[in-house]
């Protein structure tokens, strides 16, 4: 059976690239070092497939048809969207999709009660390309993109996101192959996009979340960080729910590595790694 060998949870903060000119150089260098460390740790677990979970930013999907969770099924996963690369200078990424596993995950999910849709014409937006370009820039490992909805209200409860992670873990462990699988979840902490609090942060709340992440306090996170509570602190803070899905994979395991130092001029850029071997 396939085996989960490593799990990464990473920021996809676009301002790492978009605001590079005004970022504190030392902070940015520390972030690059953290990503380099995670890249090395990931490589050492020798994954031959990546299941990547990230929320769409009203790019692939619009309010007419907004899947709660969806599996990308196409020969390749490529992105980001034009404005992300041309205006925000966000990195591009292109990798093959592990089609047999993607089809298997979709069917198993639908039959086991996961709110999956399938999407066969898609791009991967920066929520995928930012983490992947940092931790596996070689683009040589096939991916299975799982897209989530954090912006098209209503949003599924945090329990559903957690169950998605549990389901991904079970599905990998039941996959009749000998693949070594990495799971990457793409998330952000407290953040508001386009709203009246944009540029402001509740740092006490953010620090509390980071403490729970460091300690692997799954139950406290699930109890406290409900969808309304997350959005109360910023309309895009629901992106943290991708981390909740990661918790469904790792359960209560404490991270092997966590970097959470903010980058002045950019914002919060957490990167977390679990060695699951």
């Amino acid at each position: 059976m396939a085996k989960i060998v490593s799990v990464v949870a990473s920021t996809h903060n676009p301002r790492i690239f978009w605001n590079r000119d005004q970022a504190d150089k030392n902070d940015l260098e520390a972030l690059y070092t953290a990503f380099a460390d995670v890249r090395k740790m990931l490589a050492e677990t020798k994954p031959d497939m990546i299941v990547a979970v990230a929320n769409d930013h009203l790019d692939n999907f619009f309010l007419d048809n907004m899947p709660t969770f969806s599996v990308g099924i196409a020969p390749t996963a490529e992105g980001p969207f034009w404005y992300e690369s041309e205006i925000m200078f966000l990195p591009s990424y292109k990798a093959n999709v592990q089609l047999d596993f993607a089809e298997y995950l979709l069917r198993a999910g639908v039959e086991q009660g996961i709110q999956f849709s399938q999407v066969r014409e898609f791009k991967i937006d920066h929520a995928f390309t930012v983490p992947l370009s940092f931790v596996r820039p070689e683009e040589d490992i096939p991916v299975v993109p799982v897209m989530t909805n954090a912006f098209g209200y209503p949003i599924a409860t945090n329990q559903r996101w957690y169950e998605l992670g549990q389901f991904i873990r079970r599905s990998i462990e039941a996959w009749p192959g000998n693949q070594r699988v990495a799971v990457i979840g793409s998330f952000n902490l407290t953040v508001e996009v386009g709203g009246p609090k944009m540029g402001k942060y509740n740092m006490d709340f953010t620090r509390w979340i980071i403490e729970q992440m460091k300690e692997g306090n799954r139950d406290q996170i699930l109890k406290t960080l409900t969808v309304p509570r997350l959005i109360e602190e910023g309309n895009s803070t629901a992106e943290f729910l991708n981390y909740v899905t990661v918790l469904g994979v790792v359960e209560e395991a404490k991270p092997t590595f966590i970097q959470h130092k903010p980058v002045k001029g950019v914002g919060m850029c957490p990167v977390v790694f679990w060695d699951m071997q």
């Binding site: 504190d24 009203l58 619009f62 309010l63 404005y83 925000m88 386009g194 009246p196 944009m198 740092m203």
Partner: protein, 105 residues
């Protein structure tokens, strides 16, 4: 229905590079396929972002539109101060606390 149509028009423009560039140059024909009210159409043509907020544009869509039309920090400097306390059906879907002053760095 019109709120949805306004949001649909904005999405239609920013996901398509050619349409964005045409709109940037003042070609408003990209809005023709959409059944917009005069208020909505004028707010788009005049790039009146606070008005677009008040007309219930989804915050993320509104920011994306600004990102493709304006300099990076333009939205924070010119829109955010003018939308404080202004209702927006998408933003108000879940309750919010008041803005805090802490910054991450």
């Amino acid at each position: 229905m019109s709120v949805y149509e306004l949001n649909r028009a904005i999405h239609h423009v920013y996901v398509d590079r050619d349409k964005t560039m045409a709109f940037r140059e003042g070609d408003i024909s990209v809005l023709a396929p959409f059944d917009l009210t005069d208020d909505e159409r004028n707010a788009l043509i005049n790039r009146d972002f606070p008005k677009l907020w008040a007309l219930h544009t989804h915050p993320v869509l509104l920011f994306h539109l600004s990102a493709v039309l304006n300099p990076r920090e333009w939205y924070i400097e010119n829109v955010v101060p003018k939308i404080q306390g202004v209702p927006n059906v998408w933003y108000d879907y879940y309750p919010h606390t008041e803005a805090t002053t802490g910054t991450p760095a």
